[in-house]
């Protein structure tokens, strides 16, 4: 392979990293609560808006390096404030109900969050590219890389490995896995599944908002970001197999690379590229790369 393709691959992997954050949150929430959260993409958009606002504010107070911190602070803030609130007041009432009702409720939430965003942030696009600029570039073999992109890929790997380790080794991780496998059994063993739900949902919100925050330096933050993201996240989760962390990672890489290849070779196909991948995968494996019928495992 000629080295001319390396930038294509780096672009694709950076894109994949951002998609992965959202899709893995969606998939986590689905496997724990058996709910497909249509509003999940709105947390991504919210993560982007809030991190721009906080980032600009912090940059004004303490310089651009402090502004970088906003990319992590904002998702934590959003998860802590909105996660428990939405789970306790809204989602809690939909568990075990028909899927159509769950989708309607989360779709309603999506509409509310979208309009709330327009109300608060207006319809003009926001942008902050300071984080990207201060991290600079790396030049290897005559090719220029944005350090920010490399960090994105690194963070996605860390999140994937960290999630897996958390589920395998930590107390809360083991409790989550048990609830995923068998909620009724979990309760008889002394596991408070409602607390596990709050935690898992908030973690899902955090991951989506983190994706949005980390994307904000690379894109214009404008209305429509949420809906665009949720459709893409659905596609990636479906390709990977709903509820599968490694599946979401692999699917994100596939979609990221395909999108960036489309941009290089056939830009007019870039918007449909993820869905072509989805079509191809689901034709061969209808439950996704890592999924199977009735699978209750994360």
């Amino acid at each position: 392979m000629s080295s001319a393709y390396i930038p294509l691959i780096v672009d694709g992997l950076a894109d994949a990293a951002l998609i992965f954050f959202v899709a893995v949150g969606l998939t986590l929430v689905f496997s724990v609560m058996r709910i497909l959260n249509v509003a999940h993409g709105s947390f991504y958009a919210l993560g982007a808006y809030i991190s721009v606002v906080i980032g600009l504010w912090l940059t004004g107070r303490g310089g651009p390096v402090l502004g970088l911190a906003a990319l992590v602070i904002s998702p934590v803030l959003i998860a802590v404030l909105l996660g428990p609130l939405i789970e306790l007041t809204l989602l809690r009432w939909t568990y075990g109900r028909p899927e159509a009702l769950q989708i309607l409720v989360t779709f309603g939430l999506f509409l509310i969050l979208e309009d709330a965003q327009k109300l608060i942030f207006g319809v003009q696009p926001y942008s902050q590219d300071t984080p990207m600029q201060i991290l600079g570039i790396t030049r290897i073999g005559g090719i220029v890389y944005l350090n920010y992109q490399l960090i994105l890929v690194l963070m996605a790997v860390l999140v994937a490995v960290g999630l897996r380790l958390m589920l395998k080794r930590t107390r809360i991780g083991k409790l989550i896995v048990t609830v995923v496998t068998d909620q009724e059994l979990a309760q008889t063993l002394g596991i408070d599944s409602s607390r596990v739900f709050i935690l898992a949902f908030s973690l899902g919100v955090f991951l989506a908002a983190l994706g949005g925050a980390l994307a904000s330096p690379t894109v214009g933050v404008a209305p429509g970001l949420g809906s665009e993201t949720i459709v893409l996240a659905f596609a990636v989760a479906a390709i990977g197999g709903l509820g599968q962390i490694e599946g979401a990672a692999l699917a994100a890489i596939l979609v990221g690379l395909t999108r960036s290849a489309a941009i290089y070779f056939a830009p007019e196909f870039q918007p449909v590229a993820p869905y072509l991948v989805m079509l191809a995968v689901l034709l061969v494996r209808p439950f996704g790369l890592f999924g199977s019928i009735g699978l209750r495992r994360i």
């Binding site: 083991k174 409790l175 496998t181 309760q187 008889t188 002394g190 596991i191 408070d192 599944s193």
Partner: protein, 223 residues
Amino acid sequence: MLRLEQVRVRFHDQIVLRDVKMDVPASRTTVLIGRNGAGKTTTLRAIMGVLPLENGRIWLDDVDLTGVRSHDRARFGVGYAPEDRRLIPDFSVEDNLLLPAIALRLAGEERRRRLDEIFNLLPEVAALRHRAGGVLSGGQGKMVALGRALMVGTRYVLLDEPFQGLAPALALSYADTLVRLRKSRPDLGLLITESTPRLLDKIVDNSLLIERGEISSLARKAA
């Protein structure tokens, strides 16, 4: 004493338990006999709090368990082994056994003590401790599920059809294990559901018969 008073449970618009009255004394083995669909499993699930009661109360000594949420009942020392073993396939046997201990945040030494007690009673489980829950045979899985119920059940243990699906030889060895459990834990209240109670002859103190959701007769204990 674990006591059910006029317990009525409805499931999918059908009454499955009709005003069930039942006493399960501590230090005794109570066997609930009934055909498939008679309401045996429902009785156990109602005691564990995973099915809502339409009517009635459940008492543990002088504590009213009726309003206590399912996961909090584990705290009162009531353990449960469902008929299908339901282990977590990705966890090791030891991690499966310790799940209740980490959920209830038991102290390290208490955790150790209960684990040792389980391994003493079930040496075959001790030998499997590092195996994954998903690769066990049916008989092994039943033993691990019993051990897990004992990790929670310091006062009562409920076993749902323990011999169901076991080959005759395995069923016999499981029955022997229950005899040893009865000896090593004389204080424990045992409630066991069965459709063929013959294997429990050695340990049974009270036999109750359940039919169409009603405890209809109180058979005298077998020898």
